[in-house]
Every structure is written in C-alpha cells, then in structure tokens.
C-alpha cells in the first residue's frame, strides 16, 4: 500500500468523540471561547489559565484531525446558523482547507510557550495567551471560510491579534515596527474593503462559490480586475506581497522569534490561501495572472537582494521569506492546476523551513558575524540550519528542489516573455540565495577568532522543534513520490470549480438576479 492510499483511506479508528460535520465550527469557536474566558479564569486560578490555551488548541487539533480522517475525501459545506447558502455564511471544507486548518493549532502549540520565563504579572500572561488563541481561531477561520466578507473579518482578527503579539518585547523599536505594520495593514484593509464593495456591486453576492458561478459574466472586465488588484494588495499585506511588505524585516526583527516563526511560517500562508481561493474561483483572467507574475517577480528580486545584504540573522530570514513568497505568487500566476500545485508545494515547504529557522533565531538573534564558530557549541542546530538552507536553495534530493522545479517547469511551459523573465529571476535569486546561506553556513563551521564572545546557543526546545520539522523535511524527501500524488490530488480538488459550485449549491440556483 502506498502512502498515498494510506492518506486517502478512511481508517476504522474508534474515536472517543466522533464529531459531526457541522461541529467543525468548534475549531474556530473553542479558541475564541478560551480567549474570552482567559482573563476571568486567571483571576480565579493562574494554573488553570496557563493550561487553558494548550488544552483548547489540542481539542481543536483533535477535532480537525478526526474530521479529516472521517470526511477527508470529499468536500462538504457547513452553513452557519443553518441558513442555506448563499444567504448565510458558509464554511467550505475541502482537503486544502482541512490541511491548513489542522496545521494552525498544531503550529500554534509548537510556538506557544515564551522563550523567556514570564517576567510580567499574571494579567499580562493571560492577555498574551488570549491573543495567541485569537490568532489561532482567526487563522483557522481563514482556512475554512467560504464567504468573502467572513474572510475579511477573520483576516482583520488575524491582523489585530498579530499587532498585539509583535509588540510583546516592549522595546521602542518593537513599538515603531508595530505601528508601521498596523498602519500599512489598516490601509490594506481599507483597499480590500473597497475591493469587496466592487465585487458585491458586480455580482450581488459574497458567497465565494456563487461568485465563482457568476464570475465569467460579471468579473471578467476592467472593474473586476480593479477589484482583484485591490483585494490582492489588501490581503497581500500579510502574505508579504511586494509593494506592501515593508513591514516584514522590522517586525520579524523586533518581535519575539517564536512569534516571527508563527507569522512568517504559517500565518502568511493563510493569507496566500485566501489569494489562491480568489484566483481559482473568481479571478482567473490573464490580467490577474500578469499582475501576480509582475508583483511576484519584483518580490523575489527585492527580497533576495535585500537578504543578501542583511547583516543580522532575523532580517536575513525575513527578507528571504519575502523572496520565497514571491515565488509562491509567481506560481499562482500559472493558470489552473499547474499553478495551484506548484504554489502549494512552495508554500508548504516554506511553512516547514521558515518555522524551524525562525525558531532557531530565538537565540541566534544577533548579527551574522556573532555566529562564527557556533557549530562548536551548537552542532545540532548548525547541522539543521545547513539542512534547511540546502532545501531552501533547492538542492536536488530535498523537497525544496521539487517545489522550485514545479514552478520553473510551469513557467517554461507557459513560455511567454514575462514568464521566461520570471524564470530567469528565480534562477538568479537561487544563486543569490545560495551565496548568502552558504556564507552563514561557512561562518557557523569556521573557527571562532580568539577572544571573541562565545556564539549563542539555541535553546533546547527550539532545537527540538527544528529537529521535528527537519524530520518532516527528510520524511518528505523519502516519500516525495506519494507526497506529490497526494498534493496533486488536493490541487486537483481545489481547482475543480464546477465541483465546488455543485457542493455549495446541490440544487442549481438562479444565475442572474
């Protein structure tokens, strides 16, 4: 039996609590409830309040995994409040949504605990835990929602929760970074809201499946393209899209590294997921593709060049993250199945790699020079860094290579001038990437100069998380064949727009008002 079959097969596990489909809302609602009750609970018992977050996240993860096992094959729809779509809000749960939704509580748990012991009082600790839970709830909702405005609400919640988290270090620099991030993000939200207004005016609905149904007749025009541009820039702020990514280096350099790991790793991919849904369902015209290709290419170019010039570890990672997400946007510009497949591959690879690398940056938060000779004191972390760097560059047996190859092949097949330019840029960026990552790797393994302060050692927990993610990466290397079949299946299901519409509206609804 191949892994692919194993992943698709419905196991006969006797689950102690078998959730029904509509109970998937609990994955969003339980963290919200936990967040609301956190501060009152902290006044009663500090221990209970400390345990509440992990318990709620574990319950949420369990629920989503159980649902994936039970209903993981075919997509289904949950109408919230029981109002039939398109009148009410729906959660559209396909394999892609379940994959990302399940990742949210798991990754939040990985980066849940603070690196520094809690200096602040219990009020502060409860507040921080509450905001973390809100972030998890919002990100889960972002993965599951099938309604444009509902997505906007969850996106805003993700944004506001991350403002609170990136300011946690309470330094002046962190506050400046936070307020600049906040203002840019709020401008993006205004633009996204204008985009939503235009889409609503053109189609008369907010349900994504119904928008997909109406899109050929209503959104394939300049006004539709304008709406897409506004939505893209709006939701692109969190996805580190080129012109609206100025917040990335300063925020990731000033926020606690584990928060950066969560934001750069998973949360940015959920914004990508929103853009992916929009591209697949509503805006698959050439105009939208050209826009994505152009912004993605500029992102790769600016990100990797800035990473090459960066002098400190967190900002190097931040700029490299901008470049990697540029590749994701380039992949999304490829039409249909190819694009979604390639984009998912690059995005998932980046989730694993960047989460681990930012985790290591909890202690390696200084300049690159200070890392000289770190392999002597922290051999495992150094070896892990090299592993992730190799995969990030795209050295053959590792998954990063296959992900990048998918994009390159797709671009070559498209063969237009712009696509070939993008291809050249990605290759150039790979060379730049190899240069700066090797520079760090060499520095890690060189002898420290005499008299220099000992290079910092990453904490045991961060190394454990990185090792876990490294194992995931190696596992993916070994099982690359079934894995790509599995991912291809997800991409095929995601791009099957007719099936999506049929799932949300089992009985066809009126096409025009």
């Amino acid at each position: 039996m191949t892994l692919h079959q194993m992943l698709l097969q419905v196991p006969d596990l006797a689950l102690p609590f078998a959730p029904t489909q509509s109970q998937i809302v609990l994955a969003v609602v339980l963290p919200l409830l936990g967040a609301f009750l956190m501060q009152p609970l902290a006044r009663v018992s500090r221990t209970l309040a400390l345990a509440l977050g992990p318990i709620v996240l574990a319950a949420s993860a369990y629920l989503l995994i159980a649902l994936s096992l039970e209903y993981g094959g075919a997509p289904f729809v949950v109408a919230i409040g029981g109002y039939a779509p398109p009148l009410g809000v729906v959660f559209y749960v396909d394999r892609l949504a379940l994959l990302f939704a399940t990742a949210v509580p798991l990754f939040t748990l990985l980066f849940w605990w603070r690196a520094e012991p809690d200096a602040a009082g219990s009020t502060d600790s409860a507040r921080r835990d509450a905001v973390m839970l809100l972030l998890a709830a919002a990100a889960t909702g972002l993965a599951l929602s099938g309604d444009l405005f509902n997505i906007y609400v969850f996106y805003e919640l993700t944004a506001v929760a991350s403002f609170g988290l990136v300011a946690l270090r309470a330094t002046g620099a962190a506050y400046i970074a936070t307020v600049r991030y906040l203002l840019l993000s709020a401008l993006g939200s205004v633009l996204a809201l204008v985009g939503i207004a235009i889409v609503y005016l053109l189609t008369g609905t907010l349900n994504l499946a119904q928008i997909a149904q109406l899109a050929p007749g209503t959104l394939a025009n300049p006004a539709g393209l304008a709406a897409f541009a506004l939505l893209l820039v709006g939701f692109g702020v969190k996805a580190e899209l080129f012109p609206v990514n100025t917040w990335v280096p300063e925020v990731y350099a000033t926020a606690p590294a584990r928060i950066s790991a969560l934001l750069a790793g998973l949360i940015s991919k959920l914004a990508v997921l929103v853009v992916l849904r929009l591209v697949v369902l509503a805006f698959d015209g050439t105009g939208a593709q050209t826009l994505l290709l152009a912004l993605g290419t500029l992102g790769v170019l600016t990100g990797e060049l800035a990473a090459w010039r960066a002098q400190d570890f967190p900002r190097m990672l931040a700029y490299s993250s901008v470049g990697q997400l540029g590749v994701v946007f380039i992949a999304l510009s490829l039409p249909g199945y190819t694009g979604v497949f390639a984009a998912l591959a690059v995005a998932l690879h980046h989730v694993v790699v960047k989460s681990a690398l930012f985790g290591l940056a909890t202690r390696w938060n200084g300049s690159l020079e200070a890392l000289a000779g770190a392999a002597r004191t922290a051999p495992r972390a150094s070896i892990l860094f090299v592993l992730f760097a190799l995969s990030l560059i795209g050295v053959p047996p590792l998954p990063g290579f296959w992900a990048k190859l998918l994009v390159l092949v797709g671009l070559a097949q498209l063969g237009t001038q712009a696509a070939l330019t993008a291809l050249a840029v990605i290759l150039l960026a790979t060379a730049v990437e190899a240069n700066y990552l090797f520079r760090v790797a060499v520095r890690l393994f060189q002898r420290a100069s005499d008299g220099a302060p000992a290079p910092p050692r990453p904490g045991r927990f961060d190394v454990a998380v990185a090792s876990l993610l490294g194992l995931v990466l190696l596992g993916a290397t070994v099982t690359i064949d079934p894995l790509s079949t599995w991912l291809g299946g997800i991409a095929a299901q995601t791009t099957d727009v007719d099936a999506t519409i049929a799932t949300v509206f089992p009985t066809p609804i009126a096409q025009t008002p």
């Binding site: 809302v25 967040a35 809000v89 609400v153 919640l157 506001v160 609170g164 300011a167 330094t171």
Partner: protein
Amino acid sequence: MRNIASLLFAAGLGFLLLVIAGQLGFGEPSMLIGGDILSAAPDEVGAANIVTAVLLGYRGIDTLGELSILFAAATAAGLVLAGGRGAAASHLSDAPAGFILRTGADLLFPLLLGVGFYIILHGHLTPGGGFQGGVILAAAFFVLVLARPAGGMSHTAIAVIEGLAGAGFIALGLWSLLADGDFLKPMLGKGVLGELLSAGTLPLLSLAVGLKVGAELAGLMTQLSEQPPPELTGQPLAGQSPEHTAGPETQD
C-alpha cells in the same frame, strides 16, 4: 525612494478608482442575495429590523468575529500599555473630579445606562442594537470613571463582563449546535413580528453584543485615561545615547 514608490502607489490607486467609476451602476444594485434576504428574513428570523436580522442571524459568525477583533484590540492595547513596566500605573493622572462633574455623573450614569439597554433590547425592532447601545453603555461607564478616577473595581468588572458577555454569545451558539445541529441557529420561538419578545434568541445575542462592546470600549478608554500624562514622564526615556543628539539629518 520610498516616497516615490508611495506616490506611485497613490496615483495608481486613484487611477484605478477613476477607471472603474464609469463602469459601476450605482443606484440599481442587483440585490441577488439582498432581495432574497429581504423576503426570507421575516419568516426565517422574525426580526422587524432586517439589518439586525442579518447581523445576528445570517451573518452571526461575522459579528462574533468582529467582537473578537474588538476584544483583541482591547487586549493588545492592554498588553502594549502595560508593556515594559509590569503593570499599568493606575490613577496617577487625574485629580478627583469636582463636585459638578460628580453630581453630573451621578445623574448621567443611570440615564445613559437606561438608554443603552433600551437601544440594545429594541435592536430587532428599530434602528440600533448591540453595537450602538454598547457604545452608550461604554460612555456611561466612562463618565463614572471620569468622575471617580480611583474606583479600583473597574478593571475586574470590565474583564469579567467582557469575558462573560463574549462567552454568553458563544454559549447561545453552542446551545443551538448541541440541540439542533447548527451553530448560532436562532432558538426559542419567533414570536409575533414587531413585538419586544420576538425573534427568538436574537435579543439575547444583542444583549451579549451590547455588554461585550460596552465592556471592551470602556476598558480601552479607561486604560488610555489611566496613562500618566507627559509632564510626569518628563524626558523621553529610551533611544538616547550621546550620539543621538545631533540635529536631524535629511534622508530620502
């Protein structure tokens, strides 16, 4: 450099909006789902105010998300304002209010409270509802804080109310999930359209929204008003070292 990029961005935005201006038909919306909701809402939800019916019924999860955003903003503001110093420096700023303000507050507080609850509980009948009434509740509470800055109860009360009101909203949703299989489905009878006791659980949801919004906003304002004024903080604290004292340098 960055300014040029920003200007280009603003110009692009303006151009974009101008281009679409001619294409959009304002004044004749398609009413694709709007029309359906207008005809279905009285039967499905039972609220005379259809905006409230959509807000708490059809799009109830949006409202829950929006309450969470307000909660996140208030909590994050609390984290920020308390950041770096352990706990908030409380009640430094304002001397006890004068007699007139205190008497005024005593009169105003119950009045605002009454108006707030009236608006909240009539949200399914007339314009208004949880948000609007909640703002008035927050104003009532803030008047009290202004008049008696040293009321130590406020923080605990706000934290408890905001937590329990939010939990109450979710609990109503969970009740219907367990009893009927759908989250946030209206429970209880719909009643007679236009009466105070109608629209099922909608007034209860409205109450939860009102209390939550009121508590969040009151908390935000209290936190802001308890910050020490600048004359107490005196000189700027961080970001200074000898080299910082040179004059501004032109950049960009």
